[in-house]
């Protein structure tokens, strides 16, 4: 059985993670990334609520109500994990010790601006730790569907929703493509199997520079 679009995006995002990395995964598709991190590397997953070293989901009936990930679900802690308060938790992010964060988006634009916390008048949940992560993680990877349900592009020339952080995104992974934010603009670097450059461009509001080394992503 092949992977669904969400899993394909998560699997591709996981390739951004290297040995020894400190990683924070947002809720939604980013949470799936942990299933695809190579078992050959040592990675510490950071949870905003005060844990460095999230482990696998506990077995049914073995949940600990005081050991919960930032998404609100029971987790475990790996060997070498540590607990700390919320100030220390965000100190790790703000001081640049977080190598990579993988987040969702409402909109992301050519300059790497990110909007993912509010739709004024409609959906006002608050930013939680999102602004801290977007502003101060060393590398911000966005995993998002390429378009909204109405077909409009989430990859914009300029974000129209209130920003989470300015010029913070490095890489955008959608179900169609992988795009890198560069000084020259958004570079289309990889296509998922089954799509074409033409389709990606037609579904993208932002300008796209097609990379000389454009490659097709094939997962068996």
């Amino acid at each position: 059985m092949g992977l669904g679009a969400r899993e394909l995006m998560a699997k591709r995002a996981a390739e951004e993670i290297s040995n020894g990395n400190i990683v924070n995964l947002g809720i939604g598709i980013p949470t799936l990334v942990s299933d695809f991190i190579s078992s050959g590397i040592h990675v510490f997953l950071h949870s905003e609520n005060g844990l460095l070293g999230i482990g696998p989901k506990p077995k049914y009936g073995k949940e600990d109500e005081n050991l919960i990930n930032a998404g609100g679900f029971p987790c475990t802690a790996v060997q070498g994990a540590s607990y700390f308060d919320s100030a220390e938790s965000f100190a790790i992010i703000r001081s640049g010790k977080l190598d990579i964060t993988i987040l969702g988006a409402l909109e992301v634009d050519e300059k790497g601006n990110l909007a993912n916390w509010i739709v004024p008048g409609k959906r006002v949940p608050g930013m939680g730790g999102g602004m801290d992560l977007a502003e101060n993680a060393k590398k911000v990877v966005i995993v998002t569907t390429h378009t909204n349900k109405d077909g409009s592009s989430k990859i914009k020339k300029k974000c129209s929703l209130p920003l989470t952080a300015k010029e913070c995104v490095s890489l955008i992974i959608t179900e169609l493509a992988v795009m890198e934010v560069t000084k020259e603009g958004l570079v289309l670097k990889e296509l998922f199997e089954g799509t074409t450059v033409h389709e990606v461009i037609s579904k993208t509001e932002a300008g796209l520079i097609v990379s000389d080394t454009l490659r097709m992503i094939r997962y068996e």
Partner: protein
């Protein structure tokens, strides 16, 4: 071993609750309800005090954590980072019945720490170029721009700890620590709900997270326990 109440900090819940009244500025530990005291939340709902200003990480869930107080219509204002898990909070905000001030999570933590450690403010880059800038002073230090974030303090802080000794030294349990040690420092009256009260000297001095100097009242007891969302799903 009997607990000697030599500092007079160990009290009945009723006595602790005399500090929480209409218009109290109340800070609470907890993250999605984890690390929020079920006992004290239950008492606050029972006492039904009104016009509270709440300061804490999030609005919990409707039946979990501070969410119970919000759903009971007891808050007029919140300073928080996220209300997405409690639709009632969003509804009250939309109806103009609950004023919400959003602060990024790390910024909220540092603002509470600043209030608790006697700092006049801290300079933070989070929120630059966003609506969070609004109404805030920007300050340049060595060529970099920051927002001046002001300290937060509360009249009363409610804390959930794994164990307390009679001086109020506290240890916490795993991710139930979160905002609790910060709230303990930043409140004029800090009320701790400890799962267990242990004799003075039983907590390892290296392990103590909150020194007793920050704790005014210690209570213990069952009551108010909620069912977690993940328990309901199972």
């Amino acid at each position: 071993m009997a607990i000697e109440n030599v500092f007079g900090k160990i009290k009945e819940v009723d006595e602790a609750m005399t500090h929480i009244n209409d218009h109290t500025v109340l800070m609470y530990g907890g993250f999605g309800g984890v690390g929020t005291s079920p006992l004290l939340i239950n008492e606050i709902v029972k006492k039904n005090v009104k016009d509270l200003t709440l300061i804490g990480n999030d609005s919990g869930f409707p039946q979990i954590g501070i969410g119970r107080v919000i759903c009971n219509g007891q808050a007029k204002k919140m300073i928080t980072t996220h209300i997405g898990s409690n639709p009632v909070a969003g509804q009250l905000m939309t109806e103009g019945k609950l004023e919400i001030e959003f602060s990024p999570q790390g910024t909220l933590a540092e603002r509470v720490r600043a209030g608790g450690t006697g700092l006049g403010g801290v300079l933070i880059n989070v929120g630059l170029g966003t609506v969070i800038e609004k109404g805030k002073e920007t300050i340049k230090v060595d060529g970099k721009t920051y927002l001046l974030e002001k300290p937060l303090r509360a009249d009363v802080g409610i804390i959930y700890a794994k164990a307390a000794d009679p001086f109020g030294n506290l240890i916490y349990d795993k991710t139930a620590r979160n905002f609790n040690p910060l709230v303990a420092m930043a409140s004029d009256v800090t009320i701790v709900h400890a799962e267990e009260i242990v004799p003075l000297g039983e907590l390892d001095p290296e392990e103590i997270i909150t020194p007793g100097v920050y704790v005014d009242i210690i209570v213990t007891g069952e009551g108010g326990k909620w069912k977690w969302v993940w328990e309901q799903e199972n």
